[in-house]
Symmetry: C2
Subunit: 408 residues, 2 copies
């Protein structure tokens, strides 16, 4: 019996980042660009804002006209009118001011705005009870972005602030890396489609496919489901080959038995070069994972147990999708702090992902391990998140402060 | 000049959870159910699994037949064949075994599986070099879920594990709470659509609308954009009224000047009862926020500055969406740990959201505040996340350990 050669999770991530290149980029309209990665650096075609704007409701003034003013000795200025929103501001002379709203344009001669609450208006006489410094309450032309400056570097993922920035520059179309199409097959003769109501003894509904398809869609990909592959090698290979032609990333799910694992491994070897790269990962749950690169396209063979399959796809499937979409390599792993409720043992040399439920207690969150086999999906459904025990550790003790990654 | 009455952020969240009820539920197919909240509790219509399954590749045995077996004194069993995947297992008698793959059905008489690596097969003679306990390497019928047990309680959000669980039960349609349709208006005469390439002096492109629409879509809602409302009260009110008829949640963006703020506040008062509930929040950025309830529908008036508008929508807009979709009230706020790179001052009595950039250093992540006005979207685009300074604090010092919520 051949022993499984396992690769450490961090080495698998390195292999992924070396093997797989971002997909080509294409143009999308700004309203559809959220979540994509920028394919080309964008320079600001103009200043943002393009004129000096007030940041408050008040009066645009020459700051020097207010010097020395205070509660008891107001500066007196002549109000010549109002800056209409979206319109050019009127000119002011020394000793004059004009009403300006938040976001309104400053007269060319004005260099500050005094807030309305520091003034009092009688007819056109504006009393100003405070002095303002030059630049006060003003956002200057080009202060947000200067014409020609780099607005966004290629490789930046477009979140809501980036979408807003591009809109402020009048950019309504951007070059972004295409998001991958991910193909899925389920494998194993015991599986039947989940829509089947009556099962024969020995049959199991395919729960991995819908769960994985949703997970892949959550990561922004388009999915293509090829159904359940039979345990016949020729069919298995042929269907895989034609699916791989149509997708950017191929995933096999299920087939935890040695037989289907062999089929999957042989198929990966035959689909393209260099073929199989990883034949097991020192991780729990999810050890019997296969990863290959077939003429540049990633192929992932997930373990059959549902919890293992979801865990592996959430970590390594996501990393592959990040590579294909040119997402920056900065992976923050946000977590919540909790106190471990029970001891957990772990084997050194293996990274353990422990399912935990979080409960609020007077002392903060308590992390309660959900024990149970990785074949039981309920154990993941009951968990709020996962707690990672690094491979060097041999477990954790009740009362330890831990960080839990929320499963969303 | 009337002072703004401000409400603490936690009180605003309480108001939201008291005022707004979940939308009605409707049926969706399982493949579209991800991200929704369950409207009815689901009980398991059958056992999962429905038969005793092997969790390994090995031989199904009566455990008692292996008692006393070891490396030197193997138990000898007669292998009667193989359990085909998806088929009924053959019967075994005392002294017999049969080959079973991971996930395969156990013969009715078998109560354990011995792993293949602990055996040696010669013809039909299987030597067994270890003893196994009853139940070893077996997942029993109903062990994941028992018929009649609660599978998922109403109010549960459907993540990938829940989707998988429902599939394993053969449930292909579920009752879920409808996701809200969110209507958006931009306000302010200075604004023009972002697709406009040439601006007149004093004009600004509406960057909030596309940024907010994307943020709302990220939260799973359907959006409806009504365009830029002019500064004419009758038009403002009429358009708002007809939009509110068509949506579940109405948002006004922009209009940071006192004038548009007044329009928005008056409109909220006139759209329905009880009307305006919050006219300012003790939060920075985002203080001049309006919140109302108009005959049961939430109406939010966002501040005009882009960073403030996004920050407020990310916190309170999200809370409103969570209420409307009946999302559980457990809000974990995952964050990454970092060390603050500079002092930050903060005014006591106000919750501050500080934009920070994260940089990797040998000592871990360093959080570098991105300073700049909330009118400058670039400051949020440069930030990886936000650091919250609670209202009781008067600032943080360089070197402090902080938690940063990633802006995604």
């Amino acid at each position: 019996m051949k022993l499984m050669r396992v690769t450490a999770p961090e080495d698998v991530l390195n292999i992924i980042s070396k093997q797989f290149a971002p997909l080509e980029f294409h143009k999308v309209s700004l309203e559809k660009a959220g979540g994509y990665t920028l394919g080309k650096t964008i320079n600001a075609p103009e200043n943002v804002p393009d004129f000096n704007r007030s940041t408050v409701d008040g009066y645009a003034v020459k700051a020097s006209d207010t010097f020395g003013a205070g509660e008891g000795i107001p500066a007196i200025l002549d109000n010549i009118g109002e800056v209409l929103m979206g319109r050019v501001a009127p000119s002011i002379k020394k000793g004059q001011c004009c009403l300006v709203h938040t976001g309104g344009m400053l007269p060319e001669e004005a260099d500050a705005v005094i807030m309305i609450e520091d003034t009092e208006l009688t007819g056109t006489m504006m009393q100003c009870f405070r002095q303002v410094a030059p630049g006060e309450n003003v956002i200057h032309s080009g202060e947000d972005l200067k014409k020609g400056d780099v607005a966004l570097l290629k490789g930046r993922r477009l979140r809501s602030p980036e979408i807003g920035m591009l809109a402020s520059l009048g950019i309504s179309e951007v070059d972004v890396h295409r998001k991958p199409v991910v193909g899925f097959f389920s494998t194993g003769d015991e599986l039947v489609d989940y829509s089947k109501t009556e099962l024969r003894p020995g049959q199991i509904r395919d729960s991995n496919a819908p769960a994985l398809l949703y997970l892949a869609k959550q990561k922004g990909t388009t999915v293509k489901y090829g159904g359940i592959l039979p345990d016949q090698f020729e069919v298995f290979l042929e269907k895989s080959r034609s699916m791989l032609d149509e997708v950017d990333f191929l995933v096999f799910s299920g087939g935890s038995s040695v037989g289907t694992r062999d089929y999957t491994a042989r198929t990966i070897e035959m689909l393209g070069k260099p073929g199989l790269l990883v034949e097991g990962i020192s991780i729990q749950p999810g050890k019997p994972t296969l990863l290959g690169s077939c003429d540049g396209k990633p192929v992932l063979g997930l373990p059959g147990h549902p919890v293992s399959a979801l865990n592996i796809f959430a970590i390594f499937g996501k990393a592959i999708i990040d590579c294909l979409t040119a997402r920056e390599l900065r992976h923050f792993r946000p977590s919540v702090k909790a106190v471990l409720a029970r001891n957990i043992s772990s084997r050194s040399g293996r990274t353990d992902y422990v399912r935990v439920k979080l409960e609020e207690t007077p002392g903060g969150l308590s992390a309660i391990p959900v024990f149970g086999r990785s074949g039981m999906l309920r154990t993941l459904a009951e968990a709020d998140g996962l707690l990672v025990i690094e491979s060097a550790k041999e477990g954790l003790s009740a009362g330890d402060s831990v960080e839990v990654e929320i499963w969303d």
